[in-house]
Structure formats: structure tokens, C-alpha cells
């Protein structure tokens, strides 16, 4: 029998040092179905995390190189599909920048009104889902009810609730409907009252506040170096909003605030979105004031905009114009452009290269939430396992946009 090692104290014996690896997603509802996190846990604390994206990659940018410039709209619809109108407008503006054309005022205000409605729908979805993922199901249902009201307006205007494909280079597919202003004013009032009610439900709730406040903090410097933009960056106190900093499409004529946060935690990101819903409502009301009831929503340029149908059927000029735009695609002069707008999640950029033909040579999308998601690992490292859900929810990762 071997002698016992009496010099060795039992308390000094080390336990097996294997860390616990935990995989969450991609098929996990809190990961919105498209992101995978492999976490190294020490107890419930996340020591290290590997965030993997790309599960929803569909090759949109490559597909854009096949059809005409106009046929890109359905693809950008499917990027941030919670606010497709903002993508439509962003892409149209990029093409118009290359063409050197400016849409009529009626179109610009119409785009702003529809775009801000889309932004409200985006923020309602994000904040609603955040609350739901923390167990508050009622606010989610109410906010989705409000989002449905907005989508009803969208359906009335564009014919589609989700993927509108309503933007056109040089204008919009159709002018505003007769009851547009009236419907939107009523809808915005109702949406704002829902937002008020949701605030009453959530902001007095200790559990909700404890799970958001001082969780997932990121400094302004880190956020900027990661390329963050949009509500997530503004929550860190940086007042960068493309609509204010680099106004496009007549945003400079509007009076609105850029809400910012202070600590850059999950709660700030939640509150910035709530505040932006109110700002958007104000912008929409101003846009409706400015929107005239008559006039064209398309530029007067036969090389860009399709002719009236009756002209196509009865005159050779109309037929040729229609033929050229539909079969060959409208021609964008050779060159490249970077055009950026404020999307639901931040700076939505389009880098386009044209070789002068009717087909895009390259369409590169700068998806705001791709860069925001890149910061997920940073904000949840060192946090508790249970913090992953509010942190991820507050970033508003939209799979279609992040992975393209």
C-alpha cells in the first residue's frame, strides 16, 4: 500500500479547469433565428463569446448585378424588412445621386412621411420585442398592434404590407392616395397613445428596469470605433443622425430633435427609440403640412421614368421609351457613388458602381446592424448569461440586413 501524501492539503486540490461552453442559436428565438453565440461560461458569467453571423446570407448584392437598376428595389426591401421603405428611399437616392437628378418636392415629402412611418414601425418592433423577451408580453402585443396600424397605411399606399418595392429611381411608383394625409394623422395619434401606455406599463416596473439599466454598457469611443450608428450610437450620447448631420432629400427643412442617451446601456437604447418615435411623429406631421395635393411625384425625365400606359399603347415614342426602360433598364452614367441615409438602425449606405449600362456593376450595402452586431461580443463579455437576451434585443439585429 502506498503511503498517503500527508503534506498535501485537500483544500489545495484543483478541480477540473474545463470551462463550460454554451451554444445559443442560431435556431433560438432570442437570437432572432439567425445569429449563433458560442459562450465560454464561468458559472453564469460569460468569460468569452464568439458571435457568428451569416446564417441568413442570400447573396443579395450579387443578385443585384443581374437585372436592371429598377429590379434592385425588391432586394433592398428584403434587407431591413421591418422598415423597407427606408431602404427603398435610400437606394433611390443613391441612383439619383449618380444620375444627378432631384425628385419633385411632392415626392420628397411623400418619401419622408412614408420613411418616418417605417422608422416608427422599426422602433416599435425592436422595443416591443425587447419587452417580450424579458417576459412582458402585453407591451409587445400593444406595440405590434400599433405597428399593424402603420402597415395598414402602407398597404393602402403601396399594396403591400411588408415588402413594398414602392420606390422608383426618380420618384415613387404611385402618388399619395386621396385619403393619405387624413389616415396618417389619425394613425400617428393612435400610435403615440400606444407608446404612452407602454411607457406607463414598463417604466414603473422594477424587474424591467433592473434588467436594462447599467446592462450592456458601451462607451462612445468604443461604439464609434466599431462603426456604430443610429439609435445604438445615440444611446451613448453621440448626437450623430444622418438626417441632421448630412441632410438629404429636404430633411433640412424639418424641425426635429436628435435624442441621445447618457450611459450607453440597454435602457438608453430602449429610451432613445421611444423618443425617436415621437420625433418621427412630429416629422410626419410637418411633412403632411408641406405635401401638396397635386403635381407629379416623378421627375420629368423620359430616360428615367416610365411613360403613362395610354401613351405606351398609342404612340411610338411612348412604346420606345417603355421598351428601353423595361428591356434594357434605365442607364446610369459610368462611375461610382456612396450615398447614405438614416435607416432604422443607423447609417444605411449604398456604394454603387455603374459601367454605364442598364445593369448595376456592383451594389454594396452598408448595413448598419452588421456593424452594431459586431459589438455584441464586446458588450456581453463579462456580463451574466441572462443579460444576453436584453443586450441582443437592444441592438435590433435584423437578419436580412445583417447577413444580406
Amino acid at each position: 500500500m502506498e503511503p498517503l501524501d500527508l503534506e498535501h492539503q485537500e483544500s489545495e486540490i484543483e478541480l477540473a479547469g474545463e470551462p463550460m461552453l454554451l451554444n445559443v442559436g442560431p435556431a433560438h428565438p432570442a437570437m432572432h433565428g439567425t445569429v449563433r453565440c458560442v459562450m465560454e461560461l464561468s458559472g453564469e458569467t460569460i468569460e468569452r463569446v464568439d458571435v457568428q453571423v451569416g446564417y441568413l446570407h442570400r447573396g443579395f448584392e450579387k443578385m443585384c448585378e443581374r437585372g436592371t437598376w429598377t429590379q434592385v428595389f425588391p432586394y433592398v426591401d428584403r434587407c431591413n424588412y421591418i422598415s423597407p421603405m427606408l431602404n427603398n428611399v435610400g437606394f433611390a437616392l443613391a441612383c439619383e445621386k449618380m444620375l444627378g437628378i432631384e425628385v419633385p418636392a411632392r415626392c420628397a415629402y411623400y418619401r419622408i412621411a412614408l420613411g418616418e412611418l417605417a422608422r416608427i414601425s422599426d422602433h416599435l418592433t425592436c422595443d416591443g420585442a425587447m419587452a417580450m423577451e424579458l417576459g412582458a408580453f402585453t407591451p409587445f402585443l400593444w406595440m405590434i398592434k400599433a405597428r399593424e396600424m402603420i402597415w395598414d397605411v402602407m398597404e393602402e399606399e403601396t399594396g403591400a404590407r411588408l415588402t413594398h418595392s414602392f420606390g422608383r429611381i426618380g420618384g415613387m411608383a404611385k402618388p399619395p392616395t386621396a385619403g393619405f394625409k387624413e389616415t396618417v394623422r389619425a394613425t400617428v395619434d393612435q400610435v403615440l397613445s400606444v407608446v404612452d401606455e407602454v411607457e406607463q406599463l414598463l417604466l414603473g416596473n422594477r424587474i424591467f428596469l433592473d434588467r436594462l439599466q447599467n446592462i450592456g454598457i458601451i462607451s462612445a469611443e468604443d461604439a464609434i470605433s466599431l462603426g456604430w450608428t443610429g439609435p445604438c450610437l445615440r444611446a451613448c450620447g453621440v448626437p450623430y443622425d444622418v438626417r441632421k448631420s448630412h441632410p438629404y432629400g429636404r430633411y433640412d427643412e424639418f424641425d426635429f430633435e436628435v435624442p441621445v442617451g447618457t450611459t450607453g446601456d440597454c435602457f438608453d437604447r430602449f429610451m432613445v427609440r421611444i423618443a425617436e418615435i415621437r420625433q418621427s411623429a412630429s416629422i410626419i406631421r410637418q411633412a403632411l403640412e408641406k405635401l401638396s395635393d397635386s403635381g407629379s411625384v416623378n421627375v420629368d425625365d423620359p430616360r428615367v421614368v416610365l411613360p403613362e400606359k395610354n401613351e405606351v399603347y398609342t404612340t411610338i415614342e411612348g412604346t420606345i421609351r417603355h421598351f428601353k426602360i423595361v428591356m434594357e433598364g434605365l442607364k446610369i452614367p459610368a462611375g461610382e457613388v456612396y450615398s447614405y441615409t438614416e435607416g432604422g438602425n443607423g447609417e444605411l449606405g449604398f456604394y454603387l458602381v455603374s459601367d454605364g449600362s442598364g445593369t448595376p456593376y456592383r451594389v454594396r450595402i452598408r448595413p448598419p446592424c452588421f456593424l452594431v452586431t459586431a459589438g455584441l461580443g464586446k458588450i456581453i463579455t463579462g456580463a451574466m448569461m441572462s443579460d444576453v437576451v436584453p443586450c441582443f434585443g437592444s441592438l435590433n439585429m435584423i437578419g436580412g440586413e445583417c447577413d444580406r
Binding site: P302, R303, T319, I320, R321
Partner: protein
Amino acid sequence: MPSFKLDDREIPFEKGDTIIRAAQRAGIDIPHYCWHPGLSVAANCRMCLVEVLPPPGRPALQLNVLNYDAQSGQYISQTKPKLQPACQQAVAEGMEVKSDSSEHVRRARSSVQELLLLNHPVDCPICDQAGECRLQDYWLEHQHDAKKMTDEPVHKPKAVVFGPTIVYDAERCIVCTRCVRFCEEVAKDPVLSVRERGNLNEIVLAPGRQLDHGYTLMTEYVCPVGALTAVDFRFKARVWFLRSARTVCQGCATGCNAYLDYDPRVDRVHRHRPRENAQVNGYWMCDEGMLDYQRVHANRVLTASVGGQASVLTSALDSAALLLKDCPPQKLAIVLSAQHSNEDNFALLKLGRDDLKVSQLFFGGKAPGTADDVLRNADKNPNTAGVKKLAPTARPLAELKTLVETGAITHALVLGADAPTPDLVQMLGKLKGLVVLAVEKGPLASVASVLLPASSWAESEGTFVNARGLSQQSDSAIKPQGDSRPAWKLIAALAVRMGLAVDWRKLDQLEQSMRKAVGAGAGQTTGASAGGASAGGAQ
């Protein structure tokens, strides 16, 4: 080299150049309908008008015009420079010409285009020219405004049959007279002329005549709009779905450069049209050659057969190898084909002459046909010169007859299914082994012991040497039809089955050894691309 100024750009020119010709050589396109580099100048469409600045110290030639002033609602008397047709105006040293940079030129182009479309029918959806029509292109580039005229347009005859190949639509016609000039100047058969004046004028046939000379399809080819349409292509395909391959015409030994237009979605060839090459065919092709593409889809051998029974390609190759293995080399004849490319013939030579040591070499091909002094050659084979260069000792196929009769030859490996006489076909049918690699169902195909389906020229790239010794490459357009494979590939497979070492499994390996064997001329493209790229623009 002397030069002149076009829109502030120095353009060199040669003696006798017109503005449009010098500009085109410099890569600048001055819009035009009636001008064609291969035809005489008519200067009747007025689309190519440019502003020629007067020499220093001389007044410009001015016209008095009345311009409507929208502000005052009055017509104001003004002057504008007299514009000159760029297709007719000869260039002189130091001349200054304004084209795109002149407001007067831009207005003139827009107005000419508007006039040409004034009575044009709304036909784009049913017009074969749509997609490659000058009226469409120039509307977008130079006019782009809507119709102003509210009157009923003038109606003229539609779908007039001009002959067996061409249908004319007078409403679409802009009377540029390109077709009239082509018949007179190139085809030397002035069968077309113009009737009436103004917006009533139209192209008519000479009394008692039809458009039936050897180059009728060229009238459709030179037509810048959809007025003349080819019966063969009418309503068959929409041009924006077609892709083009750079080919060499297989109709005769001239070897005209051509584009083969095919639909890649269904692998079907639809049209053969000229590709500009000053060394060979200029801008033109004959009807025979343009319609020769039909052979790609008609009367093809698409499956292998052994003893007249359809067979799987691999087992047919096995049977062929067995047949040929049994035969002593002195009893085997190798028949090359002037219908096939150098690559196919060289592969057969490698197998027969080099590996099997066969000395009895023959070559077949199509029978001679009509010739003229424009393009057509009496030799209806595209590669007679190539075969003669590869195998100078090869004899015409007809001389095989006596050898078969005496029993000196018992087996034959034949490329192509053509045979000069029916009794030779009968004789060859009695051989112990007749292996035929054929594209079409020719006479030899029906008597072959083993028939192997070879790909046509449209399905495989190859080199062809024309009557003047110019070696030109023809690209492939569509995928091999049915079970067919390029003949050189079938021969390689056959060689492998006969237990021979084959080091040419790929086309470039084959071409490399061909170049080594017969020098540069056999497998190299010369002249085929000269000026070819601008063929579309020269229309």
C-alpha cells in the same frame, strides 16, 4: 497624318475621308441611318448633320429662320448656321467641326428623329428589329420627348412579300435606300427602287421581278429599322435573349466571318450574320451562307448506331475499336473531311497515320456548287485547304473505289458522311468494317457498320483554312446536341479503347501538337479578328 477638329478633339484622317468615316475610325459615333461604310453615300436621312465652322476670316453660311418665343408669343426672325451631312462632307486639314457640342446639331437631330417617327406604327412589341433598332436607340439618345402630332399617321402596305426570303413593311420604312443601294452596288441586281415622295414614299420591286438574287438577306441586314425582315428569322426569337458567338461560315471555301446568334436558354441557333473583316468578306455574306446554320438543327446524327441499330455511345465506341483493332494497317483506309475543322482532321491523322501507321489517306467533302465574283466559292467545303495542308498525300475519296473493289482495303475510318457517287457508297457498305463519324445523315451514315455522332461546328470550336490560305478560328455557340461529341474527342476515346497512348485529351494539347506538326498556319487565328469587333457598329 493630317488632322481636323471634332468637338475640340484632334482627329487624324486619311485623304478622301468624310467626316463620319474619320470620326468612326477614331471611335466616335455620329448618329446616322442611311450611311453604310460599304455603300455609296446618299445623305438622305439627315441624321448625321454637323456644324462646320467657317475658315478664319470668312463668314459662316447662315440660314434665316423663324423661332417661336414663348414669352412674347411671337415668332422672331433669327439666323442659324447651315448644317452639313457628315457622311458626305469631305474633311480638310484644320477643319473645325462641331457635333455633340453644337446646340444647332442637337436640335437638328431631335427634329430629324421626330420626323422619322411621325408616321411610325406602334410596332415594337411585334417587330423583329426591336432591341437592335436605330429608331429606338436614337430616340433615347437624341430625341426623348413625347409625340406632338395628334393626326392619324399615314398608313402604308404592311407585310409585303418581296421574295422567298424577305418581307417588307412600308410603315416602318424610313426610306434610307440602303437596301436599294446594296442591290445595285454589291449584288449588281438593281431590283429595288423608291416610289412616290414625302411621307408616301416606299420601297418597291422592279415590275415583274422578285427579290431573289444570291444576297437578299443582306438587304435585311443593312436595314437600320424593322422595315425589311427575313422570313427565316421572322417571329422566331427576341434579340435581347440571344447571345453571339464569333464563327466562320461553313457554306463554302471563302470562310466569311460571322456571328452565330443563339438562344442560350434552349441551346438553339437562330441566325447567322456577317462579322466585318476587310480581308475576307468586307461587310457581307451570301444567302446560302446565312441560311447554312440550319444544318445545325436539321438532319443531324444525334445517337450512335451499330449495324444500323441505335446504340449507347460507349458501346458503339467499343464496337468501333474492336473492328479497327482486327484490321491490319495496310488494309485500313483513313478518310479525312473538308467539312471538319483542322482539329478534327488532325486528331484522325494522329490516330491513323502516326499511331496505326496507315498509309491510305483520303479526304471527302461536299460536291462543288455555284460561284460568283462577290463572295461565293465553287468549293462548298470550309476547310479543303486545311486538310490539304495537314495531309498533302491525301487523295480524293473517289479514288478509294478501286482499292475497295480489288480487296486491298477491307476497313475504313471515315470523318463525315459525304460521298461523291452512289456506287461508292454501295461499295463502302460492303466493307468488313466501316466506322463513320458524322454530323449529318449523309449517304455514308446509312451504310456504316458503326456510326458515331459528331458535334457540328456550332457546338465545338475549331480552325478552318479558307481558299486563300487564311486560317481562322470559329468559336462554339451551343452545347453538343444529343449524344454528339466533338469528332476529335470521339477519336481520342477510340484511340484509348484501342489501347493506344493518347496525350491529347484537351483541345489546347491537340492544337499544340498540331502546331508542332505543321507549323503556325494550321492552328492559329489570323485575320479573323481584324475589324471584327466593330461589325455591329458598322451596320
